[in-house]
């Protein structure tokens, strides 16, 4: 790595949060990271809590009672929302990062039509699908119980 002698000017984590005027895809990237971290935190606890079923119904009931309160229910709902976004956006990322849906190389003629414009319909489709899942989940969690 080349050593620079100037005044340091890396944006650091602010580059993740606010490097300039953003496009939609950058917000999707940040949200994807946040939901991933949230899901991971929940998941690690989830493994330990649900493994108690191996010890029989009493331990299971204890564990379920411990996580039965309203704050936990709200937390679970947030996990479901995070899953809805992360999974559906993940489909979009899997398609795009394998080079599909970004368009072919073209001669750039101003105003430029970049891969962002080509994948925009996929991004919108993703958000609509995620919204549908969110509505279904909200119904299930709070209305139909």
């Amino acid at each position: 790595m080349l050593e620079s002698k100037g005044h340091p000017n890396r944006l650091g984590i602010w580059g993740w949060l606010g490097g300039g005027r953003w496009g939609a895809e950058r917000y999707l990237y940040t949200l994807h990271r946040l939901t991933g971290l949230g899901l991971l935190a929940y998941f690690l606890m989830h493994i330990l809590v649900t493994s108690t079923r191996a010890f029989g119904p009493e331990r299971w009931k204890q564990a379920m009672d411990a996580v039965g309160g309203l704050p936990f229910k709200v937390g679970e709902y947030l996990v479901f929302l995070a899953f809805a976004f992360h999974a559906i956006n993940g489909i979009r990322l899997a398609i795009i990062e394998l080079g599909f849906g970004v368009g072919k190389p073209i001669e750039p003629v101003y105003p430029y039509r970049t891969s962002l414009d080509v994948q925009r319909p996929i991004a919108i489709g993703v958000l609509v699908l995620a919204a549908v899942l969110v509505v279904m989940g909200t119904l299930n969690f709070w209305v139909l119980e």
Partner: protein
């Protein structure tokens, strides 16, 4: 954009003199405005009227050399390519490109970007050394093959994409959109046979793996190079290569001079050489 009706604009510039200042600071100057003025022209006015010590890089003033990349009103752009009117504000905020050390005022230290660029061997690599050292003729390349990489050749190495990239903001090991875009330009060039050599760098942390398609690089690119597209296409190639699904193509052959062709009747000879 509507024609602004002010006669003067404010220039809020991030100044830093390493010999005098401990840290960068903001200075504001007032500059006369005329329709059609670019940010670069405004900087010259600041230098002429207010601060002769203001330093920046610029050259062609027409958006082809890539020298004047700066952070203008929060977005990395070329100063010569940005009309003050399109900023839709009476204050032009100019700062050096982020993610590069500041040498002085608006001058970024671009050597790390060029070092990463060099690591990825941005030139045609072929096995036939004889042809490389003593070329006899052109290489065969169809128009369709040219189109596969032509877009990525428009890169002027201005560094705006590197300034916009969220990964490059934190991770110095990531090569950045420009070097990776240029590596893809050469990997897609049918005249090139250097995929294996570049792969040695691309499989590591310097490769495209830390790109998460935030797409900012393509949004700010002043030449429409679309490095984000190049990087996703590169990921596809490398994944297929890992899964052994990649088709290796021989580099383009040297064109052969046609020997069986007769000259048409009635075409006059060229005049004798005068030099």
């Amino acid at each position: 954009m509507t024609k602004p009706n002010f006669t003067e604009v404010n220039y809020r510039i991030r100044r830093f003199d390493p010999e005098r200042d401990k840290a960068p600071h903001w200075e504001t100057y007032r500059v006369p405005f005329a329709a059609g003025m670019t940010v670069l022209e405004g900087l010259w006015k600041v230098k002429e009227l207010h601060s002769p010590t203001l330093a920046w890089r610029s050259s062609c003033r027409m958006g082809v050399c890539g020298s004047c990349g700066m952070l203008i009103n929060g977005k990395p752009r070329l100063a010569c390519n940005t009309q003050i009117a399109e900023l839709e504000s009476d204050t032009v905020v100019v700062a050096p490109l982020p993610n590069f050390d500041i040498v002085r005022d608006l001058v970024p230290e671009l050597k790390p970007m060029f070092a990463n660029h060099q690591e990825l061997k941005p030139y045609v690599i072929r096995d036939d050394v004889q042809e490389r050292e003593h070329p006899t003729n052109e290489f065969y390349q169809s128009a369709h093959e040219l189109e596969q990489y032509l877009q990525f050749t428009y890169c002027i190495k201005c560094g705006c994409c590197m300034a916009a990239c969220p990964t490059f903001a934190t991770d110095p090991l990531y090569s950045g959109p420009m070097p990776l875009g240029q590596a893809q330009r050469y990997n897609s060039d049918t005249r090139d046979g250097g995929f294996k050599e570049r792969k040695l760098v691309l499989v590591s942390e310097a490769g495209p793996w830390r790109c998460h398609y935030a797409g900012e690089c393509s949004r700010v690119c002043p030449k429409g190079v679309d490095p984000a597209k190049a990087i996703q296409l590169m990921k596809r190639e490398l994944v297929f290569d890992y899964l052994r699904l990649r088709k290796t193509k021989c580099p383009a052959k040297v064109a052969e001079k046609p020997t069986e062709v007769k000259r048409r009747e009635g075409i006059p000879d060229a005049p004798p050489r005068t030099v």
